[in-house]
Symmetry: D2
Subunit: 267 residues, 4 copies
């Protein structure tokens, strides 16, 4: 689907999208999804890093118009340039409402985010990937949500308590979405998640490091219920955070299904 004509010869092509619609149904969100675009994002250690965004861009559509002009979302994204941050999103939202004559605009972007991590004993360095994102909507005022999804290790408190030796542990995935009244680094949210688990994961571990992470997880048993509460306690005590949603999913190493916890809070 495309829109207004820009070349002379084609100037008489009709604009179907602008024709009136009589069904009297306004649409909450209409736009494009699965748009991949190379971006750079802010990074506490290196100022910025190159990554790849997967975008959903939408606006509201009043009841009286038949369709939106899909190509303008891509034009807005191209015009925004490749630097995407919490501070640049309001102007992209504003540009979308202008180009599409809309009252409300939404940008969702998810991207891989790399952090250099050092092994806890040997200090060996490597890159570890987290899935991060921004979700922004604007209609005059702007509301932006950060998203961080981080894999962690969890060790079962019950298994540790009842067993003569060992304790089942596994990879879990913690997802935090939050809104704030001041700048928060994605790396800060990663730190909160990792501190709430039995142990963080690392890209490179030599034997002394493996001994360290094994013993640390054993010393810090955590149910999904513990992980979600530990994250909540930390976010509650951060005055910049104004609301959040947390999800923890443990890939149980004793079951083929997952243990799961979810909560949402407004402050």
């Amino acid at each position: 689907m495309t829109d207004k004509v820009e070349t002379g010869g084609a100037a008489t092509l009709p604009d179907i999208q602008k024709t009136p619609d009589t069904r009297n149904i306004a649409i909450d969100k209409v736009g494009v999804r699965g748009v991949k675009f190379p971006i750079s994002v802010l990074d506490r250690a290196n100022e910025r890093q190159h990554t790849i965004g997967n975008f959903t861009l939408t606006v509201d559509l009043p009841a009286e118009f038949k369709g939106t002009h899909m190509s303008r979302f891509l034009e807005a994204l191209n015009a925004a340039g490749r630097e995407i941050s919490v501070t640049s999103l309001p102007s992209l939202l504003h540009d979308m409402t202008e180009r599409l004559h809309a009252r409300q605009a939404h940008v969702d972007v998810v991207f891989p985010f790399f952090v250099e991590k050092r092994a806890p004993v040997t200090g060996q360095s490597g890159m570890m990937e987290f899935t991060c994102g921004f979700s922004a909507e604007g209609n005059g005022k702007f509301d932006i949500e950060l998203m961080v999804q981080a894999p962690v290790a969890t060790l079962c408190p019950c298994s540790k308590e009842i067993s003569d030796y060992g304790a089942h542990n596994q990879r879990g995935v913690v997802t935090v979405k939050l809104r704030s009244n001041d700048h928060i680094w994605l790396e800060e949210i990663i730190d909160v998640i990792e501190a709430s688990a039995s142990c963080a994961l690392f890209p490179v571990l030599k034997r002394p490091d493996e001994k360290w992470v094994t013993e640390r997880a054993y010393e810090n048993p955590r149910f999904v219920e513990d992980v979600i509460r530990e994250v909540a306690v930390r976010l509650d005590s951060d005055s910049r955070v104004t609301g959040y949603e947390i999800e923890v999913e443990n890939h149980e190493s004793i079951h083929a299904h997952n243990a799961y916890a979810w909560l949402r809070r407004e402050k």
Copy 2:
């Protein structure tokens, strides 16, 4: 994670989950996810069909308890038997609140659902799969949502209008979630979705059928905006429907990204 002891010898195993928690954080939902279970569901044509459910089962956890008892969710599912329907879900929800001493319980299940479909001209028969589901929550009263996801064909009205011949078309996916005050068959929702697109899809098409579906799609051009409005108009006029959410995603055959529309209504 497991719970109460049932065999003599192990009778002294401690119950860590029951120990008190001092962080003062109630958890909205805690339970199991990704539980696969063979089920049968109601089917308009054949009374019932065998399929496979992917379940998420959760309850609320008050602030004062350290953990829930994960194995009891599986026991509740086993006890419910393999017949899952809108009418059997309240007793599963009730059983979960009893077994887990919870105030609120949630069941989400998604399953493949097959409908026999006949080709429009030759009448050749085949099976076509739709992704369906139920989402139920209960705390005294029960709230149940049906979900149907159906693939359809959409043909672009703009492309048809501006081109001397042809028109781009593609597979799209329409997802409807709805609540109702009376029984609605999953097949009825499939019918609503298919009637709202440029053309339905079919498992088997011979040449006269292919001519028919090609011409029918060309005669019924639909943007994602049209499809979502056509579905909304049909649901608005059905007095059993008390609320709904619709999502349409077109796998555009001229772009690598998708066209997208979403709306939600309470009646």
Copy 3:
């Protein structure tokens, strides 16, 4: 894409697929993919179980023909009925070569397969899902491969050895593909895989069971290298097995990446 005309009025529709092709390129495999179809498969405990197959059906296409007749694959599948087994596949392959005038036919089907499993101490029962499949090709003689993918628990021998307490463990996935000269139950392959890991997974575990599986895994540490060799040793000693391929992927609970091993043998 469709094929021969079966109704009177449409009898003059041309058959584009049968027109000659001058590019002189024979195609190894052409057909349909992602065909979902309700099936039942043989089951050691209950004779048969209902499940859902995801099929790829292909034939070879000689250089001289422009196209194959795609709808005939669906007709062959419908005609085969819903009972799919190692013994019924040759007739489906034969039917495909007849309907499509082909020399060679291929059927790949993957399906969820459920086994009732009892907890090791309390005997509590539940259903556990495995991903299984058949891959068959025929051109006069028939060659059939079984596939079983089973999740297991693995506990790291290095972590156990070097740590003062605990040992990291995790969910791993083992995939076995094998050819045989005699009947082998899918459940037999599942047994081989589970016996080769640190411990099997279970759908329902009460506290005494959880103690048992925790301690058992700790007593049986296994690298991916150990698991793959244990499976290989068992398959080598089974005279029915004529060839196999094994893949083990551990979702390491200390890393965000996986440990991996693969081997293939002809006997």
Copy 4:
């Protein structure tokens, strides 16, 4: 799993992986999978582009050793730096065989690759993503395979021929893997794929462009059989190409399943 000790205090940690194994099973490939790492790759238009690799790194393991040293794969990747190309892969393979005392090493990497594309009439520019990759193995000599996966539009020749107006078309995905005796740009393979389809896809299309792509697809009907043969003819005529494998999968807009073709050739 980790390996040799590098810090003083831990110097007595045993090396379990080096202990002898008596099962007498050599393993074809053992290593790490799902390793995400930021890389840059060569780019015809801009010299290089930043992207994100998903790596599988493996070596063979002789029968006499219990395990490989998993952390050394990550060290080899870190040492290789972030510039990954066909010319840099041999030294990574060589380094892996050295660090792991192996005879054979394998590197598989898949990454998103962006190409700036201009709309065919208005020249409007945007970024389009392709999935690309390298697969390399080395044991003295090096064998490298390029992979390109590109989405395209296909319009059904049968549907066009038999219908009074319109023709069903859809998004298809073409995957080419090839070996060569000289440098080939990823963009050249993309060009081959796009030229073999009914029409290429574009990130931004205004109305005159949409008219152009609609009519062009209608003028160039292609079955999956045609697309695969067109790609094969072009690769056959390129003397640099020494072997290839092609897969075409059409997301049929008249069916819920896909049309599929596959072939492999050695030259």
